[in-house]
Chain length 557, copies 2
């Protein structure tokens, strides 16, 4: 019988967080504790001189199925394996959102024997970071509407052109499109607006791309909240918002230290969306990891064309980070689905289908090579995978000169990832990686988009709607053209059409319009539809969550 | 030159929270720390046997001016004074809301030399209790709209009769009245709704009236969220909400330990509104204080007719608590305003006006005597008060056989409240208090309302609107008539008309309609208009709040 993630977590013995901190050379005095097993870490622990020669390992994946291919679990498992082979490694991850916890996907603290603990706290509130981000975001929203109502709109903000919505860390479809300010003159100025989930907040994206508190404050002041009647951008500092927003983020800017099941250090910080934002933890947390451990294992959302590309182009350039190896997580299940096998049949051994799906993996390997980093393939093994299927992946990788290993952390913890850890160590220490971003921020907007579309997605061309073309003109005029691009598109295809599975070619990427994150520091070309606020499913996970008199929570998964 | 509250707080030396805990006999192992100066306390510290013989002191006030008369400051100051005269006393208070911090009123951690520390943390996020309450509340809201959308409304909820709104801890007038679910069939069912501030959430009221986690869970399950098309009440447990809501409240149910400027224990927990809810900290925190200290000083919002009456009738009956003395805070300024002196002239000495305003104090003294508890008057002294003015209050109290003392905690800390502390100690130990609630929960709805209106407000009669009469019939039918009443009315008058200052008589209390808090366990007769969501002022305090590179926050007050 399989234990649930929550049962495995409960059966694990946690060490006091000061012992985990000690492994990283952090004294107890420097910890800001949240209970006995969680602590925030001060920014003074970031030390550039200690980052020299440290190894940064990014974990990405092939184009995923709806269930995800286990990147978080693989990242945690790999960290256990590295420590098992004598490497002082820490895993640096995103914090979970409450939306999926109460919805369908569940927690985001790994799975099986590769989890971070305390699982329940991490999945429910944790250290309040999401709540603080939500408050900072919504304070800015309150100041906007209060300016129009109480300060007689001296900034001349066009209420129809406000792009700053409110956020809530909840799956709430009915809040996507709302009308606010109803009820008469005392209730403000009525206008259309909406709510996004907190992970989609630009404050979240900004936190994760900032280097320190003053950088965060300045970036938040630069957030564009909308436009005047004359189409001039209006920024948060014009509402005197950034000081109070930064005060709310005083502790949120500090990364959170927890532990893996095997007692290794895990640093969790931030959690921006991987489609409309960069989809990875903070620059601060990554740098802190590199200052404290010899190896940092970190992940970016979805596949190499989404979180991977954004990690390498946005985060690495903004944070001056250089990955030494990239792990591409593949599953037999996903490879078969790229051969067109329906979900119901994915558990049936089918080596031919695996081989047919391998071009998807090949493209993600190629993508990592575009960045001049050595890829390692991690096969996240399931009980239903046949030996012949797995061999097909090994053979394919070998033919490309890429190392592949099984990743069995879910079932076995660090014991199941020692070979993978060894391969990653060899890749990182081979000296063969010479990280080079795909583009320079100073390139033109179209050049940046087309480079990503052609090299990473494999597109033949890029098409812009009339609206997108007008926006490019506006961005050139107001000086947003030197920002990097964070393309929003489906995670289910290398293209912008979720139906084009495997390794499509000859397709056109259609840029419908742009969103902007002028504070965080990027523009968002939108290819296809994007969802910034999920909804609950017909059977929400919340219905099964319970707690007993002793505080034991059940139903988290 | 006067130092600001924040400057005084910064200049104070805080002791590690384990030292404060040690004063209460709590071992470090039992603390759940949040940084070095804040800790949550486990519910096992509540011990009925240790509550025997302990003294409970309620701090209330005369009918206040808009600035408030300094109850929190007086409560903290009195606690310092009690400790100075050798009494082991703890202050048990509400947690601040972010709304006033960013709006006009500022923080709620006391003032001058009577503050609780760390002031900045307490005023900003603190231990995340408000955020958790907000999430539990909004999860229930999400489950309601998701039920209608995704579960095909099998409970037959009438979307026009949903009374459960959403909450946000922010002053947000534009969210009072909103239309949600717009944008087409994928965005849920459109309906009118709105947001209250988090302090107005029934989850907040419920937390503060619960005796433990299972009691809280059961009460949250009983929340009435609206009605079916057949006017049957729909409760939270029908949406399977209470388990996940309680899981979110796992740590929030634990009271928060901090310290006063003089290093005495302060327990902060919850913060429900004082008009539409009970306006006082939790039963759990109060009982914990009584288990750990010899004296507990606690406050209730606004004057004796609002927070005072609700504390004594609702909280004391639900929690089986018996106050031993009640401190009534009076200011010379407020007494003069009850004589009709305009705000601009309140600083000018005017003993005649003080004497003219004293009937208001007289009524509040009478109210406390209705509950068979000994009152003590605390004159919260300001530099502009003349000796003659103060003497008028002493003379008046002496004529009524009530002890009065100056309360100079704001300026002098515990040194300024020793005489007050001595008077309170004598009152509490006199054996003259024999606390008796005003009414029995089993009385009829009208009888309960009329008893409060006549005895406490001094009303001649109570009038019910047609709607209110119909609601009483409904409540009798669905079994809500045995719940206590929590009357919502203005805090600026003993009547329901803010213009009737001082001690009005002969007036009629007009009950317009009822709200319900079936989970928390009361019904809310509404006399006049009530505001569940404040707005920001033209100059929001948020504009002046800032933080520097070292994390020093300025502009909090």
């Amino acid at each position: 019988m399989h234990l649930t993630d929550q049962e495995i977590a409960k059966a694990s013995t946690m060490r006091p967080i000061r012992e985990i901190a000690a492994k990283l050379g952090i004294s107890e005095d420097d910890l800001r504790p949240y209970g006995k097993y969680v602590a925030k870490l001060p920014l003074k622990l970031i030390d550039k001189s200690k980052m020299e020669g440290k190894k940064l390992i990014l974990v990405t994946a092939i184009t995923p199925t709806a269930a995800g291919e286990g990147k978080t679990t693989a990242s945690i498992g790999l960290t256990e394996g590295l420590n098992k082979i004598g490497v002082k490694a820490a895993v640096v991850l995103r914090e979970p959102s409450l939306g999926p916890v109460f919805g369908m996907k569940g927690g985001a603290a790994g799975g099986g024997y590769s989890q971070v603990l305390p699982m329940e706290s991490i999945n429910l509130h944790f250290t309040g970071d999401f709540a603080a981000i939500e408050k900072a975001h919504n304070l800015l929203a309150a100041l906007i509407d209060n300016h129009i109502h109480s300060q007689k709109n001296t900034l001349n903000i066009d209420p129809r052109k406000i792009i700053w919505k409110r956020v809530m860390d909840m799956n709430e479809r009915v809040l996507r499109d709302v009308v606010i300010g109803l009820g008469g003159p005392a209730q403000g100025v009525p206008r259309e607006s909406g709510f996004d989930i907190t992970a989609a907040s630009e404050v979240m994206a900004t936190l994760c791309l900032s280097n320190d508190l003053m950088d965060l404050k300045e970036k938040m002041g630069n957030i564009i909240i909308g436009y005047t009647y004359q189409d001039e951008p209006v920024r948060a500092y014009q509402l005197k918002a950034q000081g109070a927003m930064a005060a709310l983020m005083k502790h949120t800017i500090m990364p959170n230290l927890v532990q893996t099941i095997e007692g290794n250090p895990a640093i969790l910080h931030g959690g921006p969306f991987a489609n409309i934002a960069q989809g990875t933890n903070s620059i601060i947390a990554t740098k802190m990891g590199l200052s404290l451990a010899d190896y940092v294992v970190t992940e970016a959302g979805f596949a190499s064309d989404l979180g991977g590309e954004k990690f390498l182009d946005l985060k690495c350039q903004y944070g001056n980070l250089k990955p030494d190896a990239v792990v591409i997580v593949a599953t037999i299940r996903a490879l078969k689905s790229h051969a067109g096998i329906p979900v119901a049949d994915l558990k049936i051994p089918n080596p031919k289908a695996v081989i047919d799906g391998l071009p998807n993996l090949g493209k993600h390997i190629e993508n990592i090579k575009h960045f001049m980093v050595v890829p390692v393939v991690a096969i996240n093994k399931f009980a239903t995978d046949s030996d012949e299927e797995i061999q097909a992946v090994f053979d394919f990788c070998q033919s490309l000169g890429v190392k592949a290993e099984l990743s069995e952390g879910w079932e076995k913890g660090g014991e199941g990832t020692k070979e993978l850890a060894q391969a990653v160590k060899e890749a990182a220490e081979s000296g063969k990686s010479n990280f080079t971003p795909l583009y320079d921020f100073n390139w033109g907007i179209e050049q940046k988009i087309e480079t990503i579309a052609r090299k990473i997605y494999g597109a033949a061309e890029v098409e812009y709607s009339l609206k997108a073309k007008q926006q490019i003109k506006l961005f050139n005029k107001i000086g947003l053209d030197k920002l990097p691009v964070c393309i929003a598109k489906t995670q289910y295809s290398l293209s912008d059409d979720p139906k084009l599975i495997n390794r499509p070619s000859g397709f056109t990427i259609k840029i419908r319009e742009f969103d902007i994150a002028a504070g965080a520091g990027f523009i968002i070309p939108i290819a296809g539809t994007i969802m910034r606020m999920p909804g609950l499913p017909a059977k929400p996970a919340a219905e099964n969550i319970d707690i007993d008199a002793d505080g034991n929570i059940t139903g988290l998964f």
